[in-house]
Symmetry: C2
Subunit: 199 residues, 2 copies
Amino acid sequence: METLDFIFDFGSPNAYLVHKVLPEFKLVNNIHINYIPCLLGGIFKQTNNRSPMEAFANILGKSDYENLEMKRFIEKHKINNYNPNPFFPVNTLTLMRGAIVAHRENWLDNYIEAGFHHMWENPKNMGDPEVYKNAMLSSGFNSSDLLNKIQTNEVKEQLITNTRRAVEKGVFGVPTFFLEDQMFFGKERLTQIEAILTD
Amino acid sequence: METLDFIFDFGSPNAYLVHKVLPEFKLVNNIHINYIPCLLGGIFKQTNNRSPMEAFANILGKSDYENLEMKRFIEKHKINNYNPNPFFPVNTLTLMRGAIVAHRENWLDNYIEAGFHHMWENPKNMGDPEVYKNAMLSSGFNSSDLLNKIQTNEVKEQLITNTRRAVEKGVFGVPTFFLEDQMFFGKERLTQIEAILTD
């Protein structure tokens, strides 16, 4: 079975939208999806990039068009639970370090569902440690234990390493995918990846 | 028969690539393509936008990825004659005014072929009036007559009007398409438009 690497950060609405589509994409294309937690803020810093919201802020019509394409994607894929996060852009450092903990302990899948839920379905300011703690508790996780483990050097270092490796491979934003060495950026690329897989 | 409006400027390599794909797209989807000449420089000025080359210049990896997607598009559609224009970005004011003349005289199709050819197949600095004159002559057009007509107010005004109308409808770059009131930006959108047409 082939593997599609998915470079993600919970802070990106387009990463959320892609996440909602991946279960069906996985089934249809018989492919394994490998979620790789990276810090989008770190990627932006290392590549001198910015969020579309910032980059397009002063360009007439461009943000409106971005929103239109999000709406089209949501309608096409019948995504029902998306809610813009009023605290955007959210500092995702704790959230992403938590993903490293969950990955090391083999419960990343559950953590990912919770992380995206609290960012883009029932959105809150997940950059606030207290909000994070309560949200993760409400999702059935041991928040105190999670917050302790997040402080360890191993966890911090792993997120830095994931992020640096992504940038070294050419990543400048999320969602980004790798099919072996072929890189694809943006939610629109799933169609292209599917065409390659079914070729 | 439905009509797809295509907002274009010869100066955009992605407009060229789309132009090469449209004949087949037209046949497959039984649609009329309405080429609307606009001045990309004017669109950028009015929307505070810039060319991808400028906007991505300082973002690590982003231009490389843009080039990769151009390469993929070229390979997918078996485009054989594309040659980057060493004079990019070329001032397209004369070229686009010429398109207005050709449109008024009902030979826009031939002019479009010539314009794209001299920009992206056998590329030259088409912003230079002397180069433009010789290129159009070599394509079988009456260059002197064309250059005279380009100087008329009606022609200048029409290009300004086309450009302003495009911006008013939300255009911030090319290639941009309109299927009735639905706007699509970028060469990747043809797949989306096709999906709508065949729905």
